[in-house]
Amino acid sequence: MAAANEPGSSKSSNGEEKEKDETMLECNICLDAARDAVVSMCGHLFCWPCLHQWLETRPNRQVCPVCKAAISKEKVVPLYGRGSTKQEDPRNKVPPRPPGQRSEPENNSGFPGFGFGDGGFHMSFGIGAFPFGFFTSTFNFGEPRPSAAPRGTPQFEEEQFLSKVFLWVAVLFICWLLMA
């Protein structure tokens, strides 16, 4: 059917051709000029709000509304025309994404054994990697280990004390090395 229509369109007058050019920028769903335009991998143009609603309507059958190729939210390309002030990804703004559907990729630090690390409980890491850190980190449940405790707090004094102790231990160690 589409093939049969082809010869006729080439004969059309200038006015009709102009109209055809304009229709190329129309959203395939609302048939209006595409706002927050996105293009699918199969090359079909939509308003992001329109495409989003289509994908929400059929969560189990995510296909292009035009050619029925497989599509997904993550694989559409936003289009930015010249002079658009905010070059923000339309996918981030218009329809707020439903919460809880998309889980962030896990930040795997390469210590699969130290599973407590992300929960704010730093003791296990402290014991494994840096034994001296154990003393300070035990007081820091629930927050990342600060580089130094605020001056004047009991914790600050304790840290000062400990560092003096370690200094003396180091001095004694060096002396022992020299004497041996």
Binding site: N5, N28, I29, C30, D32, C50, P65
Partner: protein, 199 residues
């Protein structure tokens, strides 16, 4: 959302009116009410089918969620076809159900229905009786479909033999359409149709 639906129907309406199929009188769309929620469609029976020469009227209801969900379409004109109910006019066509795509329009729906008239799918029937006849007695099916087209859709082919048999039943007090359905269902076997009607 009703906004999108109405806006789109308005645009589509213009598209259909300008289309070359309308120029060839193959399809037609009319508004039923002002808020674009209901339309009346019309398709011409495709050539070289038992529906040739007939005009088939369709009821088109546009849901609030259109075009994300398909329009609800049904034949108002009675028709003898495996994928269309001879009783309710309900249509079994994938694009009006799970194969709907938001880029489809009234025009593509009407053209698909026209294509359905030209190529029935008896293995996915809406009307089991018609589908059985279609598979088992193709010639009887064609004659019956042509007769229904003549009676209900203004088709050109009169069948005097069929009409005589219907007259026999209406003379016994059976309603015209009911007699036609019974005879059509029993391959125009008057005896069996009578048996079924009076049992």
């Amino acid at each position: 959302m009703a906004n999108i639906a109405a806006q789109r129907i308005k645009r589509e309406f213009k598209e259909v009116i300008k289309s070359e199929e309308v120029a060839k009188c193959a399809i037609k769309v009319e508004l039923v009410n002002d808020n674009y929620t209901e339309l009346k469609g019309e398709i011409a029976g495709p050539p070289e089918t038992p529906y040739e020469g007939g005009t088939f009227v369709l009821e088109i209801k546009v849901p609030e969620t259109y075009p994300f969900n398909p329009p609800k379409v049904r034949f108002i004109t009675k028709i003898w076809h495996p994928n269309i109910s001879s009783v309710t006019g309900a249509i079994c066509l994938d694009i009006l159900k799970d194969q709907w795509a938001a880029a489809m329009t009234l025009r593509t729906v009407l053209l698909s229905l026209q294509a359905l008239l030209a190529a029935a799918e008896p293995d996915d029937p809406q009307d089991a009786v018609v589908a059985k006849q279609f598979k088992e007695n193709q010639d009887m099916f064609r004659q019956t479909a042509r007769h229904w087209t003549f009676v209900y859709a203004g088709g050109p082919h009169k069948n005097s033999d069929f009409e005589l048999k219907i007259r026999r039943l209406t003379d016994m007090g059976i309603e015209d359409h009911q007699a036609r359905v019974a005879l059509s269902s029993y391959n125009w076997d008057l005896e069996r149709a009578t048996e079924q009607l009076f049992s």
